[in-house]
């Protein structure tokens, strides 16, 4: 059963399409991250699902029911906002009780259910406090408890960790993930933080300028981006323009300004097409010796280190490989190259992913 299904959803503000022809289906219990830069239409999408914006076109289905015209209070969505939106005039206990009261749950049943969920999110004994007396993390937990206690059919999270400091954010990622698993609740998690999306989600929907670019597993989105915009939005990458000269299945050769490079890519690439090679900095190896084993099938280049930065667990190099191309390379701290060192640059064909399109 699909708990959330968006069918060709479009939202226009005036002439601007905030969301364009978005179709997305979440399986039951699935945690999907809706990832994109700010202003890409993520929040608008979330608000259309929750019922705070009505779509210009398209349908919203929740638990197989068409709710496109339904008011927010009839959609049974659990919602957590970036600022948590805790009612400041109510205690933690009253905040969490609110949804149950609105659902006309008998008074006697509310107390135990609230206490139970507060204990589950680690807020046992804090029910009498007001939101302003809580830390950021505790407020976040309160908001989660309030959204979960009503047994919503879906959970909608709008940048829930954006206001927490880095350490707490990491902790809360895993906490949210375990909660979602435990309650087996279909969750849409809106974020602009790619690391958050990759860590948390079963699948990632990448939304840029209101258009769904790719909807796939975190690994696929990272390793096999479908568009240049996805490749450059998620993680760091080198983009090298070229032309496809030979291909078989997903193996191909790209003629570039730094010579022919072996890589792989989607099956619909044709010979003679302009294309871009996306090469992640951590998949490139730097060496000091001459071309080692040219027959190993890897790509080998020569280059000169132009810049080096220390990132703690690794070094970040910029290597000039000729043809006006600077490659960004990240490698471990065991083999250290100095600026102006001559180095060999090599990567496996499986590391390079070719995207249709030229220029960039």
């Amino acid at each position: 059963m699909a708990e959330i299904s968006l069918r060709r959803l479009t939202k226009r503000f005036g002439t601007v399409a905030a969301v364009h022809d978005l179709s997305l289906t979440l399986a039951s219990g699935e945690l999907v991250a809706l990832l994109g830069p700010s202003g890409c239409g993520k929040t608008t999408t979330l608000r259309m699902i929750a019922g705070f914006e009505s779509p210009t076109q398209g349908r919203v289905l929740l638990a197989d029911r068409d709710v496109t015209e339904a008011p927010p209070e009839d959609r049974n969505c659990g919602m957590v906002f970036q600022n948590y939106a805790l009612f400041p005039h109510l205690t933690v206990h009253q905040n969490v009780s609110f949804g149950l009261q609105m659902r006309k749950v008998p008074r006697a049943a509310i107390g135990p259910r609230v206490d139970e969920i507060l204990a589950r999110v680690g807020l046992g004994g804090l029910g009498h406090r007001y939101p302003r007396q809580l830390s950021g993390g505790q407020q976040q937990r309160t908001a989660l408890a309030r959204a979960l206690v009503i047994n919503p059919s879906v959970l909608l999270l709008d940048e829930p960790l954006a206001n927490l400091d880095a350490k707490l954010r990491e902790e809360m990622r895993f906490f949210i993930r375990s909660l979602v698993r435990e309650f087996h609740i279909t969750t849409l998690y809106v974020t602009h933080d790619q690391a958050e999306a990759l860590v948390l989600a079963d699948r990632v929907a990448v939304l840029i300028d209101g258009v769904l670019q790719q909807f796939d597993t975190p690994e696929a989105v990272y390793r096999r981006p479908r568009t240049v915009r996805v490749a450059s939005f998620i993680g760091l990458t080198n983009l090298i323009p070229g032309r496809v000269t030979a291909h078989s299945a997903d193996r191909l050769v790209l003629e570039t300004g730094i010579g022919p490079l072996r890589a792989h890519g989607p099956a619909d690439l044709r010979d003679g097409m302009d294309a871009l090679l996306s090469l992640r900095p951590e998949t490139i190896e730097l060496g000091t010796r001459g071309p080692a084993a040219p027959g190993d099938g890897a790509n080998h280049l020569r280059g000169i280190v132009r810049e080096r930065a220390f990132l703690g667990s690794l070094f970040d190099y910029r290597v000039d490989v000729g043809g006006g191309t600077l490659l960004r390379v990240q490698s471990g701290v065991t083999a250290v190259h100095q600026v102006e060192d001559e180095v060999t640059v090599s990567f496996q064909p499986a590391a390079g992913w070719v995207l249709p399109g030229g220029g960039g």
Binding site: A50, G51, F52, P71, P72, E73, R75, N76, C77, G78, M79, F81, N83, A85, F87, P88, H89, F98, G99, M102, R103, Y130, R146, I150, L156
Partner: protein
Amino acid sequence: MQAAVASPRARSDVRAWRRGLLIAPALGVMLVFFVLPYLNLLLISFFTPSHQAPYLRVLTLANYARVVRDPFTWGVVWRTLWLGALTTILSLVLSYPVAYHLARASRRIKGVLMILVISPLLVGVLIRTYGWIILLQDTGVINQGLRALGIGRLPLMYNQTGALIGLVHVFIPFMVLSLAGSIQGIDPELEMEARSLGAGAWRTFWRVTLPLSLPGVLAGTVLVFVLAISSYVIPSLLGGFTVLTVPILVVRTITELFNWPAGSAFAILFFAITLALVWLYLRLLGRISRPVT
């Protein structure tokens, strides 16, 4: 050692004192034009009435005794408070939706709305009131329209209704601005959250928006109530001779009966009653809205 500890504190005392100097001009104006006249009024209220002079400088409690014992006084006090309460409630009910829209409007629309809201204050009180007379009198625009529709004539002027209409009109801006400031401070996401938790629009208003805007309601209602019960021009022009409020009676006692001490005593008594009522109101409502602030 001791000097080193004491000197920064002494310096900050000096700084606080200098900051205090900044309010001196306002304090001076208040003292000369408000506190001193009020003290003078208080003094006069204990003097003896006279036919030869405004008062005789002989202290007495007779003025208060007369005012307090006179049932007519209490009738006027009661009607004044009642008119003030009606004005306040009507202003609140009419202003809340306007204030809500003002608070939630985009910046551009906000400017236009703001000018519309304060427009009653841009016209002088006499001109505004004569405008109302043209509209409300028996042969006025509204009654002509009603007659044309076959509804007949409604007594809209020279009674409490007329005074009420005039007062509500002029005090709505005060109410709207007090409320809007408070509503603007409420995160719209709180209302969204309430809706998604299953509260309809109406319950969201009662459970979230209204409680969180109570400070504004408090400020607006006190402001309008105090202004309404002390207003003179509007009730006397639109109310005619049938509406007798405390300010009207005080003015008549002083200017027509030439009884300065009695008028002063009545004014002081009413001031005390108002103060007590406002204090009580703030205490009661203030307790309800305390966790918000």
